[in-house]
Symmetry: C2
Subunit: 256 residues, 2 copies
DNA sequence: CCCATCAACTGGTCGGACCAGTGGACTAGG
DNA sequence: CCTAGTCCACTGGTCCGACCAGTTGATGGG
């Protein structure tokens, strides 16, 4: 093809590379190469000024970007200079929260995502769990039961603890983070509605029952059943807040 | 509980909140509230200086952070001021890549995530697809077959097109984006290894065969089978790059 | 030997300055 | 009337110098 032969000298749109960006790149490269490791310190801003041969404003803009990406942390007065941080999922979480908060995202989509993630985590957990971890999960069940007589928020916290325990067992930090983020966003959207629910005690009891069944299936090592029950539980718990026409995809995730 | 009664006056560790951070927060809040929407413009830096009552350096540091998070874009000379950007998966992918590069995220975890997401997308697609969308998927299969005789990268591109078509049908943009991001990260990690694989043609043929089976299951409306085949395909495709002890959780996602 | 003092740094913020661009208004030419 | 060219107010990018509050480690007195 004629156009194919020209691919070699195709031009790319050129956007100006700003000075602070090249500083960020240099530091990130040094980090990728291993010349810079977590725990080490960067030279002070004024030293960086002379090393990079730019003004302090430029150095500071680069540092602010690195800081917001979780790469370094600056503390005023620290004579050792900015610290290289170990990698943390914090910024990833921030980005995912942003993604989940974009208004084009339906409550239905969020809950579908939770059903998928939570189901997968439980499926993995029923295969990978140790006896101690199983005991840990059962302990969170006890706490949930106790929380029913206290408060809805207490129950909600215990519920979160259960799901976090499961996510830990899945040994997949991506699942863990996604679950955490989506749960937070969903709760932010409808926590007020749930709190005002009339028959909350009945809901809590039913939810507890479902969770117990999940743990039972995990104990038996039946990941498939455990995941199905978990998804069903999420559906029962949230479906009433989802507009009826949007419930179809959720049901598609339950039926096998 | 005694400690429980004190929870009300528990103190939290306080770290200095810098001026530029509060600017970032205010703008992000306005965006979350909907007072600011993609496509709109921010006032010029000098206007922001007077609105926030801080210096231009501070405003600029805030803008640099927002810019590195993909929230705004500044162009020199633009009289309309910085532009609010629509959400882009770019920064998300950057963070995930960063984590993957330091083994904070295992290749095994990434692939497990892909198996989960892709499986779920296909399960949803087999329920929600229209006849036109089914035809669209079959079209991508044709392109994959044609690409086998061209190039591995061409095949890879066609494969991406297939998965994107499926993700679209799932009508869940969260799944869509997550899939896209993780796929990009995985490819960045092992694309070079795959390219050097000896029997790449055999692999491509096998992969095509699997994809065809998936489409067949989608046509039949058997979401469960379709998802299982898809996960199996991903496992066969990537397992050899995963350290043997890490393959156990992946297999847990295939067995039902 | 311990502890209070102090001075040399640190990062955070400010204000002003200059530059190379952009884009809209304005004007001369059709 | 419309078009094409010029021009200028304003944009963001960068630099400079200054001040402040805070930390830290050395210093010196008990």
């Amino acid at each position: 093809m004629a156009s194919g032969s020209q691919r070699g000298l195709q031009f790319e749109p050129v956007q100006p590379v700003r000075a602070y960006q090249r500083i960020v790149e240099q530091i990130e490269e040094a980090l990728a190469r291993g010349d810079l490791a977590p725990g080490q310190r960067l030279p002070s801003e004024r030293d960086l000024v002379s090393q990079f041969a730019v003004s302090r404003s430029t150095v500071r803009e680069a540092l602010r970007v690195l800081e917001s990406n979780g790469v370094v942390r600056s503390r005023p007065g620290d004579p050792n200079g900015p610290e290289i941080l170990p990698f943390s999922p914090g910024p990833l979480r921030k980005q995912m929260t942003r993604l989940a908060r974009v208004d084009e995202l339906t409550l239905s989509e969020l809950i579908a995502f939770r059903m998928i993630m939570d189901g997968a985590a439980i499926q993995l957990a029923s295969r990978l769990r140790t006896p101690e971890q199983l005991a840990e999960m059962e302990q969170t069940l006890v706490e949930m039961r106790a929380a029913i007589d206290v408060d809805f928020t207490a129950f909600s916290e215990a519920d979160v603890a259960f799901h976090e325990a499961v996510a830990r067992v899945s040994r997949n930090s991506l699942i863990q983070t996604c679950n955490e983020v989506v749960r937070g966003v969903v709760l932010g959207l409808i926590s007020d509605k749930i709190a005002h629910a009339a028959n909350s005690r009945a809901l809590m009891l039913e939810s507890l029952q479902h969770h117990a069944e999940v743990v039972e299936a995990i104990r038996a090592g039946d990941g498939h059943a455990a995941a199905r029950i978990a998804r069903q539980n999420l559906y029962d718990y949230y479906a009433s807040y989802v507009p009826a026409p949007d419930r179809d995809p959720l049901r598609a995730l339950i039926e096998d």
